[in-house]
Amino acid sequence: MANSAGICTSFKQDILNGLHAFGASVIRGATTKDAFKMALYLTTASISPATTAYSATNEVSSANYTAGGVAVTNATAPTTTGTTAFWTPSASVAWTTVTFTTDCAFLYNDTSAGKNAVASFTFSSQTVTAGNFTLTMPVNDSSNALIRIA
C-alpha cells in the first residue's frame, strides 16, 4: 500500500455538512441542517456561478409565486460514492398556477443571514401560463446528483 495525495473524500462530505471553516465562519445556533430554497429568475437576469447570494432583482413575479422561491425538501443527507460527495433534494420543486417566463433556477441557503448562494441551473426559456412549473431532481448518485464535489 503506497501513500497518495489528494483531497479526502470524507472532507468533501464534511464540506456539504458544514464541518470545516478555514476562514471566519458564523456562530451556528443549532446542529440542525440548514433550510435551502430554490428561486426562479427572468431571462434578463444575470445569475451565474459568480452570484454570491440570493437577490430579488430580476426574480420572476406572479400570483402564487412568493419572492424568495420555495423551500427545498431535504430528507436525504449528503453521502459519498467513490471519491465524490453529493446531495440532491428529496422531492421535486414546484409552483402551482403561475404565469411567468424563466430560464434559470437558483439554489441558496435560506438559513444563512446572507442567503448564501449554492448553485444556479439554466434551461431553455420557458413561459408558464396559468399553469404549473416543476423542477424534477436528478438521480442522487455520484454522476448525476444536484450538488457534487468530485
Binding site: F121, Q126, T129, L146, A150
Partner: protein, 88 residues
C-alpha cells in the same frame, strides 16, 4: 388541474374550462445533456363567443399565442459539480 368524478375542470388564463373544451399537446422543448424540458400547451377548441373574446383580449394584453394554459416540467438530468483541483 382538478380531477373530478365527472368532467375535469382545467384552470386557464381565461378561467376554468372543461377538459373537453381544450386541445392539449405535449411539446418537447430544447434540451441538452444536463436538462430535459417538456411543456403541455392547452388551446381552446370551442366557439363560445364570450370565451373567444376573452382569449383575444388575453392575446392582445400579453402578446402570447393562443395558449391559455402552459405547464412546464424541467428535469435536471445532471446537477452541478465542484471539481477538486487534484483528484484522489
Amino acid at each position: 388541474m382538478k380531477e373530478g368524478k365527472q368532467a375535469a375542470i382545467i384552470t386557464t388564463a381565461i378561467g376554468e374550462l372543461y377538459e373537453h373544451e381544450l386541445d392539449v399537446e405535449m411539446v418537447p422543448q430544447a434540451s441538452g445533456d444536463d436538462v430535459w424540458v417538456v411543456a403541455r400547451e392547452c388551446r381552446y377548441n370551442g366557439n363560445d363567443p364570450v370565451k373567444l373574446d376573452l382569449i383575444r383580449q388575453f392575446m392582445e394584453a400579453t402578446g402570447r399565442p393562443n395558449v391559455i394554459r402552459r405547464d412546464v416540467w424541467v428535469t435536471i438530468k445532471r446537477g452541478q459539480a465542484a471539481q477538486a483541483e487534484k483528484g484522489n
